[in-house]
Amino acid sequence: MISKKRKIIVNSVVAFFFFVGVIWAAIIVAKPGQMSAREDQWSRIQKEKTITIGLDDTFVPMGFRDKQGKLVGFDIDLAEKVFANLGIKVKWQTIDWSMKETELNTGNIDALWNGYTKTPERAKQVAFSKSYHESNLTLVVNKTSGIHRFSDMTGKTLGIQTGSSAETDLNTHPEILKNYLAGQQAVGYDTFDKAFTDLNAKRLDGLLVDEDYARYYIEHQANPENYALLRGGFKPSEDVVGLRKGDKGLQQAINRELDRLQKNGFIRNLEARWFGPQPDLKKN
């Protein structure tokens, strides 16, 4: 049997170390986070000649993997070009898109460049580059559905991508589309391929999605001619590069390069390559 004395000693020692551990953890948590994330990282990036960019590699046609597993897409081409001009190598890091701002602010990645749209909420946490691409929110419907304008969605079901800027726009301007919907609520999907499956199965009447993505998905459907794209009253969304607030040097360098690539037509060529020709659009 273990003596009473020994029990008391061991129990006190364990309790002591436990409390020391708890206090130590509390001190660490109370301390302000990583200082390095708040400083300008541009000189470090220039010295190392590499930048880590976060992306969601399921995000067609902005950044995704081809059959060989190679990263391709509009944003991949553009970012590679911008940083090649600056003499910096891009290291692409796959992230979970719902964790993007955390990844950026903890310093795991230096930039977000993957169809990242400017919104007021994001502006509180993240610095933006200048906008390099504009896109409209469109409503994708089945041609036979009889839906020709947003008001035709009265009492119908709408699908959106959870956490997307489309969701934010839908909620901040409910008078444009949200108020028409059944239950004034949309159905959230994590990826659009699943939402398209539901649109085809008629479990959804419409799908609110960025025009670039909408065209990509429609092109890959069995019968692309079955769908119609409707533009409504939403303002065009601007794609930007997401950066840490402190990284002014990086922001200026990216803006300078984006300006040049816009002027010399590089971005326009890329748009034609990845988003294809403009399709017919029914104006609302």
Binding site: I2, K7, V10, N11, V14, A15, F18, I28, V29, K31, G33, Q34, G54, D57, T58, F59, V60, F64, R65, D66, K67, Q68, G69, Q93, T94, I95, D96, S98, M99, T102, E103, N105, T106, G107, N108, T191, F192, D193, F196, T197, Y217, H220, Q221
Partner: protein, 213 residues
């Protein structure tokens, strides 16, 4: 069918990550689980409380949350883990908690007479544990241990949240690229194959361990 096979290279690239997390978890969580199960039976109440608290937290919160806390949470307080290290750490401490309960059940199933006999024979505590108790515990826990292993095969898919690419993520990439649900079918088949292999290995070891019957 040829179409389905075209997704294979991408999905197989994700398989490496899935298997990596799987094996490192098995290797790390078994010893930790045994330790924790012994801790629950410790004569010192502080150790019992600590271990019970640990198991309560690990089993009481979703593994997905634990992954987020360990990778992102610890980084915000200045303890940055590598992505794979964070995944391995979270999976090991989570699975060790479940295994601890299984091992505790196994320990309780060893009759008191075995302990008494070992004592009478003059075996030390360590000898009793390793030579008498542990071999019996292993036999008892194989079926429930197997349950956890099969669960682990599928739970590895949660690592998507810290940006690691496993086979399920490879499937989603192919699904959004080709706009079809077919890659998921392939991913499902691969999971089934993996659990089939695990099941066969467990059955075989169970049979071997039961030769004494």
């Amino acid at each position: 069918m040829a179409n389905l096979m075209s997704f294979l290279p991408g999905v197989l690239a994700g398989l490496k990550m899935t298997l990596g997390v799987f094996f490192i978890t098995i290797i790390g969580s078994v010893p930790l689980g045994i330790l924790a199960s012994l801790g629950m039976k410790s004569p010192y109440f502080t150790i019992r409380w600590l271990v019970n608290g640990y198991i309560w937290i690990m089993r009481g919160t979703p593994l997905l949350l634990q992954l987020i806390f360990i990778y992102y949470g610890l980084a915000t307080v200045g303890l940055p883990f590598d992505r794979f290290e964070a995944a391995a750490f979270a999976f090991i401490i989570n699975y060790a908690a479940y295994l601890a309960e299984i091992f505790r059940g196994g320990l309780q199933a060893v009759p008191q007479g075995q302990f008494d006999a070992a004592k009478v024979l003059g075996l030390s505590k360590t000898q009793t544990f390793f030579k008498v108790v542990l071999p019996q515990v292993i036999k008892i826990v194989v079926p429930s241990f197997g349950n956890e292993v099969v669960n682990l095969v599928k739970d590895t898919s949660l690592i998507y949240v810290i940006g690691l690419g496993d086979i399920l993520r490879a499937g989603s990439i192919a699904a959004s690229r080709e706009v079809t649900l077919l890659p998921y079918l392939l991913v499902g088949v691969i999971y089934l194959l993996m659990t089939a292999i695990v099941t066969l290995i467990l059955r075989a070891s169970e049979k071997r361990l039961n030769v004494w019957r």
